[in-house]
Amino acid sequence: MPPMKWLFAASFAVLVVLSCVAWSIKPEATGTGKVPLLWVSDDNPARREQIELFCKLNPQYDLRLDPTNTGMEKVIVQSIAAVGPDLFDCYDGFQLSGYVKSGIAWDITEELRKEIDYDKDVWAAAFPNFVLDGRAYGFPTNVSANAIWYNKDLFDACGLPYPTGPWTWEQFIPIAQKLTVREGGRIKHFGLLCDWWNWRQFVLQWGGDVYNEDGTRCILDTPEAIAGIQFLHDLMYKYNVMPSPADEAAMATAGGWGSGTITYFAGGRGAMAIGGRWWLCTLRTVQQEKKKEGKGLRLGAVEGPHGPVRVFRGYARATLVNKHSPYREQALDFIRYEARKPYNDLINAQADALATVKRFCYTPEYLHNPDFPEEDYNAVWRDVMDYAVPDRVSPFINGQAASRIIEKQLDLVKNDKKPVQKNLQRDPEARARYDEIVRRKNR
């Protein structure tokens, strides 16, 4: 054994050499004279194509992606140290109010109005993500509303006609029951798959909401909200057309389609599923992989069944401009790019949900993508936008804090541990806790 001194000295020498290598293969400071722009967003193939197109159309910029795990932690922490990105994504209304109140988001209302009359031209469901109290702080990247995806092969196998909308849950149940097929004690596929976080849609469809108009009260204990949640519960435990958490866990191993509703659906574990157009990004990949094996996945889409009210959950993502960025004026060019045709057409072609500017969804290319001729359901995703309602946020309470309290109660409903009624209405303690938080914020 060499003495320790030598060992350390040798390690040090090796590290220095490695560092020199690292230093030397550092890329050139690219695009001399180009303005660097940094965008915090999630990293994926679609996003990279969107960046590429921007840089092609605006050669004066060098737009780079700074990946994130979609939370706000990164932008907030960076902005405290005044080194935030130039552009960053905002995933819901509460995040927007957070960014605005922290003074990170830049009010671009006037500039944006010069480019687009957004009140008229942009889908209403995207508004909470970029407009607060009548001021605009960015522009939505894409938007979506829930409808139903269905698997044509499973309908054919059961000898059922493809569904057409609009329809109600009463019409839906018998069809879904026929599509819930058991084989040898196990459930082969379910009639419906639905991510639990869509519970808000059921509350909305039964005429309830999470908060009251001015956001000062949680109204999940109203009869309407309870009826909505009760119905969702019944889909699992009364009509048995939708997997309960236990069933879902079973699917992951038995069917082997990975977790997540999209993968279950793609794997033929459900005949219908509540989802958005953005599912297509994944579904196309699956279709390609299946094609290689000589199999297929034939898809259809239809407006979702509705309850007493015909509404569906709408949601969006928006890009905001950092108020403290030295390149904030230049960053506006990216916002303008998002409002124009090339970007919107790209979004529609990628099936990265739906373009946010309405008129670009009324083009022949949108309805019939020449690369994917079998996709004949694009009109559905657009038309359902007229009934899309975004999640209401309370300006007084952090959505995360509220949902921790709410989800805990709903978890018990979901796992059938507590009756819905008792859970939402007769839990005075949860009720009191919630009101207490709102009161404190209101003070």
Partner: protein, 300 residues
């Protein structure tokens, strides 16, 4: 406490004479054979339960996307191209290199600074030593998450944003490593360095020639921990690094984990490759550990 007491516990069991050279008389061939089989049998059973998940992960990395979470470990169709795809879709080699480089630097610096501090706490006598040490120890008890923000602001102020240095420097000083090595240095028989002190050696010589070689098992363990911990660190590089060419593996892997296309089979392939440096480091370190025994035997 104090090393005196620890030392006492060692001295009590000092051997009456230097034995160990003759053949152990009581252990017959059959006895040893039985012991051998029993040890291996037990270890093998345990090892298999540990190995299965890893094998499952390796097999999953060859699966098509739709079979990844299937409990059946064998892919219906082998897809070695998953590995090629990882390199195609992101500059994986660069991320790999960055991760290893940063982790190696942190490991080196942490081992060095911790060993020096541990030496001061374990083998040198000075007033207030134990007070200072307890203060060190106390800082381990605060969840690191609350110091994230001040640390970040500081790193930015020091102009270390978006650089290797920003990843390396703040991670290079550790109370954990100091504590660990101090515990190892406490077990060194005081007779050894006393002899050196008597011969007129300075603290510098004692540190390099006696304390460090004898604390080598601890040093190896610390190196493994530090490398692993830093190699897998996620949140710090996430907020600190903005340039693509400085990204580390955990950040690069976000690409396969996005909302739109969670490519779990590629995540598995990347994870398997992710593991290789760790396994190499571990096996090498364990070789050193074995040699350490022989060395200790000769010296002691």
């Amino acid at each position: 406490m104090t090393s005196d007491e620890a030392a006492k516990s060692v001295r009590v069991y000092e051997p009456a004479g230097r034995g160990g050279l003759g053949t152990p008389g009581y252990a017959g061939w059959w006895y040893r054979r039985g012991q051998f089989i029993a040890s291996h049998g037990l270890l093998a059973v345990l090892a298999i339960t540990m190995l299965l998940p890893f094998l499952w992960m390796v097999l999953a990395s060859f699966k098509p996307l739709d079979e990844v979470e299937n409990l059946n470990p064998f892919p219906s169709r082998w897809q070695p191209e998953n590995y090629a795809k990882v390199f195609d879709q992101v500059p994986f080699a660069r991320y790999y290199f960055n991760s290893v480089l940063v982790a190696l630097w942190v490991t080196f610096l942490q081992c060095l600074t911790s060993a020096m501090a541990a030496f001061a706490f374990a083998r040198l006598q000075w007033r207030g030593r134990d007070m200072v040490f307890r203060l060190y120890l106390a800082t381990l008890m605060i969840p690191g998450i609350v110091t994230m923000i001040p640390n970040y602001v500081l790193t930015v102020k020091l102009q270390l944003l978006d650089s290797y240095l920003g990843l390396i420097v703040p991670a290079s000083f550790s109370a954990f490593g100091t504590f660990l090595l101090r515990q190892f240095m406490l077990t060194i028989p005081p007779a050894l360095d006393e002899a050196a002190w008597m011969d007129g050696a300075g603290p510098w010589t004692v540190f390099w020639d006696i304390a460090l070689p004898l604390a080598r098992p601890g040093l190896i363990a610390l190196a493994v921990f530090t490398f692993m911990g830093n190699y897998g660190s996620f949140f710090w590089p996430l907020i600190l690094i903005k340039s693509e060419h400085l990204r580390t593996l955990p950040i690069g892997m976000l690409y396969f984990d996005s909302v739109y296309g969670k490519q779990t089979n590629l995540i598995m392939a990347a994870s398997v490759m992710n593991l290789i440096p760790l396994i190499v480091l571990f096996v090498v370190s364990q070789k050193f550990l074995v040699r350490g025994i022989q060395m200790g035997g000769v010296k002691g």
